[in-house]
């Protein structure tokens, strides 16, 4: 299908994006006050995700601390113009939170400890996300498109920190099926987002997102 290869339309840069980039540039320059500002802006987002994944307030705070320090140390590696700082930060938080739950449940070989987010999440096109600023209704709409088994596979991975092998074992499903549930589920969500992206929803989302 053609719309699986067409990139999502680039989001119009919002004032928030520009402000975030300016803050990140100051962080790269070693300005503590800028880190303070970034933290105030995104602490709730970061902590909510970390808490959802770890289900442990103290571990979630460790994850958030780790993530903001990662951002503090690696702000210079953020690629200017390639997407929102928010999504970059989100990928760091998610990565650290998954690490943390796997450490707590040490049956999975741990990834090498890194200060830098995974290379693939720094690939240029990752940043063309209309999804970042969607409102609650759009989020529900995109999630509603998943079948039960797709949702299960995606949630066990993204929020549960399980590997594909662990998901296959837990759901008693062949590994290949687990992989295609993840893939087809993500692609289905993407198609919904592409449709949403065509209307004025993105404009409304910008207002909702402004702090």
């Amino acid at each position: 299908m053609s719309d699986t290869t067409r990139p999502l339309p680039l989001r119009v840069a919002t004032a928030t994006d520009d402000a975030d980039r300016a803050v990140l540039a100051r962080i790269a320059n070693g300005e503590l006050q800028a880190l303070d500002e970034l933290y105030e802006r995104y602490k709730t987002m970061a902590y909510s995700i970390a808490y959802r994944i770890t289900n442990d307030a103290s571990l979630a705070e460790d994850v958030v601390q780790d993530a903001f320090l990662g951002a503090w140390r690696n702000a210079g590696r953020y690629i200017q113009g390639r997407g929102s700082v928010k999504t970059w930060l989100l990928s760091i938080v998610h990565h650290r939170a998954i690490d943390a739950v796997r450490r707590r449940r040490p049956t999975t070989p741990l990834p090498e400890r890194e200060d830098v987010p995974p290379a693939a999440l720094m690939l240029p096109d990752v940043w063309s996300e209309v999804a970042a600023d969607l409102d609650a209704e759009a989020v529900r709409g995109a999630l509603a498109v998943l079948s039960d088994v797709q949702r299960e596979a995606i949630e066990l991975a993204y929020f549960g920190g399980l590997t594909q092998q662990e998901i296959a074992a837990r759901t008693d499903t062949p590994l290949g099926t687990v992989k295609s549930r993840m893939r087809l589920g993500l692609l289905a969500m993407r198609r919904v987002l592409l449709l949403e992206g065509g209307d004025t929803g993105a404009m409304d989302a910008q207002e909702v997102q402004a702090p």
């Binding site: 290379a119 693939a120 929020f159 992989k179 993500l186 987002l193």
Partner: protein, 272 residues
């Protein structure tokens, strides 16, 4: 799981097959490393990865909202301040680059060895506490129990160690609170306090700079953690010896004149 698997060279098709579990974080360490290794050298842009990853913010946006404790910010800021101080101690920090290269990947282990240097800062901090005075052995022992406060003090002492900076030992006033501040030559102050009673009824702790013969200047509020520790940074502090740093409890945020009594205060002296 005890035998480390040898590095695997993946084909483009294998990477495509692993794309969904990769972006969802569902590969184990070896598999994820193999995908990253492939991506670092592959001519194909592997847009399928970014297409799938574009959906992730929706998953993130679906979680229930939760708020971190107030103390977390102090911990993060203190750790960043300590990191900044250790950076200026070491010339080995690599210049930031847009993309991690294979060389940098190799340098990563070297960098984690360099991170051990931050421990040197913290040890130096404990030693410096003894030299600066106003701190007893009991207090040093308690520091071990409170990592956050430890880092906060390390951050203050890192500033105090800079040439031309001033140190302020914050002695107890109306409360048993005590602490330590340092002011760098650019007028930036870093302050760590402990034993502050929790503020009540919307009141806040505010730090003030009082230059001889001048009106008190508000420096900012302190966020107090559950254990009574607090940390703040302010700028625009005149870096002159004899300056008094004072802490008051204000009924509301944004006070322009201090409300007595003084909770804790100290006089800036050259760190020398």
């Amino acid at each position: 799981m005890t035998d480390p698997r040898p590095p695997v060279d993946l084909t483009c098709d294998e990477v495509r097959e692993l794309a969904a579990p990769f972006v969802l974080g569902a590969l184990d360490g070896d598999e994820a490393a193999a995908v990253r290794t492939h991506l670092a050298s592959c001519d194909d842009a592997h847009v399928e990865l970014s297409e799938l990853a574009e959906v992730l913010p929706v998953l993130a946006a679906s979680v229930p909202v939760a708020e971190p404790s107030v103390a977390l910010k102090s911990r993060i800021m203190a750790a960043a301040a300590a990191d900044l101080a250790s950076r200026s101690d070491s010339s080995a920090t690599p210049a930031p680059t847009a993309f991690p290269t294979a060389d940098e990947r190799g340098a990563r282990s070297a960098r984690s060895r360099a991170a051990a240097g931050s421990w040197a800062v913290r040890i130096a901090a404990v030693i410096a506490i003894a030299i600066l005075g106003g701190w007893n052995l009991l207090l040093q022992a308690q520091l071990r129990d409170e990592q956050a406060y430890d880092q906060q003090v390390a951050a203050v002492l890192a500033v105090a160690g800079q040439p031309g900076s001033l140190t302020v030992v914050m002695a107890p006033g109306a409360a048993t609170a005590r602490g330590l501040a340092a002011i760098d030559p650019h007028g930036r102050m870093t302050l760590a306090m402990r034993d502050l009673p929790p503020p009540t009824g919307g009141s806040v702790y505010e730090a003030w700079a009082v230059a001889p013969g001048a009106a008190p200047v508000p420096l900012g509020e302190l966020a107090v953690a559950g254990n009574g520790a607090a940390f703040m940074q302010g700028s625009g502090v005149p870096p002159s010896p004899g300056l008094v740093v004072a802490l008051t409890r204000e009924p509301h945020s944004g006070a322009t004149t201090p409300t007595l009594p003084i909770i804790s205060s100290g006089t800036a002296t050259a760190s020398g």
